[in-house]
Amino acid sequence: MSDHSGSARPHAERLLEAVIFASRDPVPLRTLATLLPDAADLDAVLVAIRARHTGGGFELCDIGSGVMFRSAPDLAPDLRRVVEVPRRLPRAAMETLAVIAFHQPITRAEIEDLRGVSLSQNTLDALLEADLVAPAGYKEAPGRPALWATTPHFLIQFGLKSLRDLPRRADLMVEPTAPATEPTPADP
């Protein structure tokens, strides 16, 4: 592996190159100087190393009173590797989304009733921004409250062909939790 040809590179140049390569931190010039038999040569050796790597994949950089190797800045766009780390929806948003999905179209008050907690604007904003829910008209009831429903993007995100692909509520709820909202008055 280590073949050493009759390469003409001076020992001092090779040594400093290796030291700068292997160091965990930028190497102070005075440390480098101690490695040379004649400290006066330091500048010349560094000039040679710098010249050798200019236009390569990495370059010699001056950092404070030391030097280090860095990958060439113009390569950065090609080197950058973007790793997608998908976020999860916050719990409140996921619950709200689920309630809307199973009960759409539904008013805000009904969502709050079904979840048992009030719906914060942040949560609704997050769902709107993610294009998961959208307004769907108004309920014909006092005050004409806005109705909410899921978007086509919701289907895509969850890999559903249609809303009918969602499991039925009855299949989900093993124990019948308090019946939805009907007060059923029996009257002739």
Binding site: S2, A18, F21, A22, S23, R24, D25, M68, F69, R70, S71, A76, L79, R80, R81, V82, V83, E84, V85, P86, R87, R88, L89, R91, M94, E95, T96, L97, A98, V99, A101, F102, D113, L114, R115, G116, V117, A130, Q157, F158, G159, L160, P167, L172, M173, T177, A178, P185, A186, D187, P188
Partner: protein
């Protein structure tokens, strides 16, 4: 067989401590006989080992058990090798071969360790880049959504709201006396003559229990109205239909 000069026992002790177990010492003794293990004399090897152990024991009794076990085993091997019985000798030679094999295996390990040790080791003789650079960027813009999470969120939400709601038995709504009074008062005027009380029951279909409740409510209401003289009641026989008519005629 090379002349193994009997070294002073102190030297043996020092020597013992330099070795990692009996096999290690045996290998070293064998190597001092010959470079090639194939040609060593097992008998000479056994003698050397026993001499060293004997020397060590004179100074120190508490010799580790494995040294003594090996000594005992080698003494047994030596006795067999020296027996006149050809069968015993053959058996002993087989055993000696096994010992030689073990020594060769150990020597191979030594050579392997030496081979590894002679390689330039990372961090010892050669060095990697001291300041690695990482070009990885994390993109957190995408949402991770899946159906199971949606469903479990739904169940969590519904359980929470279900738990919050207070338990109320479903109200059973029966035909009340008040309702029967209203209905009787409203309808009695349009009845020309005696009518069956059951005609004043509510029209909406009722459960059997609801029907009986409605009947008793209507009867109570009719009794109340009869007491006030608003209507008259008549029953011709036990369990016959109860008839009702407007006005408090007394006959």
């Amino acid at each position: 067989m090379p002349a193994t000069e009997p070294a002073p026992t102190e030297a043996f002790i020092v020597q013992l401590e330099g070795f990692e177990g009996p096999l290690d010492l045996l290998l070293d003794l064998a190597r001092s006989q010959k470079l090639d293990l194939a040609g060593i004399s097992i008998l000479a090897l056994v003698d050397q080992y026993l001499a060293i152990i004997e020397g060590a024991r004179k100074i120190r009794l508490e010799l580790a058990a494995d040294w003594l076990v090996m000594a005992a085993w080698l003494a047994w091997l030596k006795s067999r090798l020296l027996l006149p019985d050809p069968e015993a000798i053959e058996e002993a030679e087989l055993t000696a071969d096994i010992l030689a094999d073990r020594l060769r295996a150990l020597e191979a390990i030594r050579a392997g360790a030496a081979w590894l040790g002679a390689r330039p080791q990372l961090g010892q003789d050669v060095f990697a880049r001291g300041m690695p650079e990482d070009f990885t960027e994390f993109d957190r813009s995408r949402l991770k959504l899946d159906l199971p999470a949606l469903l479990s969120a739904y169940l969590v939400a519904r359980r929470r709201s279900g738990a919050k709601r207070q338990y109320r038995p479903k109200p059973v709504i029966y035909w009340t006396v008040q309702q029967a009074l209203e209905r009787l008062t409203r309808l009695i005027g349009s009845m020309p003559d005696w009518s069956d009380l059951t005609q004043f029951l509510p029209e909406a279909p009722q459960s059997p229990l609801g029907q009986r409740a409605a009947l008793s409510s209507t009867l109570l209401a009719s009794l109340e109205l009869a007491r006030n003289g608003v209507l008259s009641l008549r029953q011709d026989a036990d369990f016959a239909p109860i008839m009702v008519r407007q006005g408090g005629q007394h006959e």
